[in-house]
Symmetry: C2
């Protein structure tokens, strides 16, 4: 989760939305990324999508764990379900409910760390950038 | 749908997976794309994701219709649900069941054209490239 937070902070320092993700396989980080909506002007590159893109074509995800600083939305949860990533560990879901129920209903193991750094980072960002945040989660 | 099929054929001519999509707003095509797993070596760029990336940041999708030659998978259906694209028109779901039930359960209107060109294009592709197809839908 520390590495996912580093990704989120990197995104923030670039002027972007502070959400980060890493993909771990057998104890090793094999991919990492962060939300790039602002940086790339790209509405599809949420943190988890960026992470999975950067990981490349690995075939099966069956031994993988996806870490994200925030509960995945339906786009990113859809990737988790479609590519059968069995375990997702999230920093928090206090600032955004996300698609936890959907993932669980498809047998994904979801662990929520209720990480205070993740919560305060997102709380401040949403307070300062409500329009950008609403754009990112499709509620404009 | 003709334009989505053109995108799929373009993808095929590039050595890629023949799935195409276009986004229409008030009768005008505002974005288009096709699956780029092979071309870009990118596991996240399904046709609908490519189309939505190419459309750019349009804010609300409430007057939009997404056309795809194939029933969206959970990744792409997740984008539809998260960004509240109200209507999806698909070429077919005979070769791939996709996430139709999931989209409908979130109030998305889904129309299936059972288009014979779409069906035969995908049937042939899957028959000729079973491993690539299974990789694309996460069933390796």
């Amino acid at each position: 989760m520390e590495e996912a937070i580093c990704e989120a902070e990197k995104g923030l320092s670039e002027g972007g939305i502070p959400i980060g993700a890493v993909l771990v396989k057998n104890g090793t980080i094999i991919g990492r990324g962060h939300n790039r909506r602002v940086q790339n002007d790209d509405p599809m590159i949420h943190a988890e999508i960026d992470c999975l893109r950067n990981t490349g074509r690995i075939g099966s995800y069956k031994d993988c764990i996806l870490y994200s600083t925030l509960m995945p939305c339906f786009l990113c949860a859809g990737a988790v379900v479609q590519f059968q990533i069995p375990t997702v560990i999230v920093g928090e879901s206090q600032t955004f409910e996300g698609a936890e129920v959907f993932m669980r209903s498809h047998g994904i193991r979801v662990t929520n760390l209720n990480n205070l750094r993740c919560i305060s980072m997102m709380k401040r960002f949403i307070l300062d950038n409500p329009d950008l945040w609403n754009e990112d989660i499709g509620t404009l």
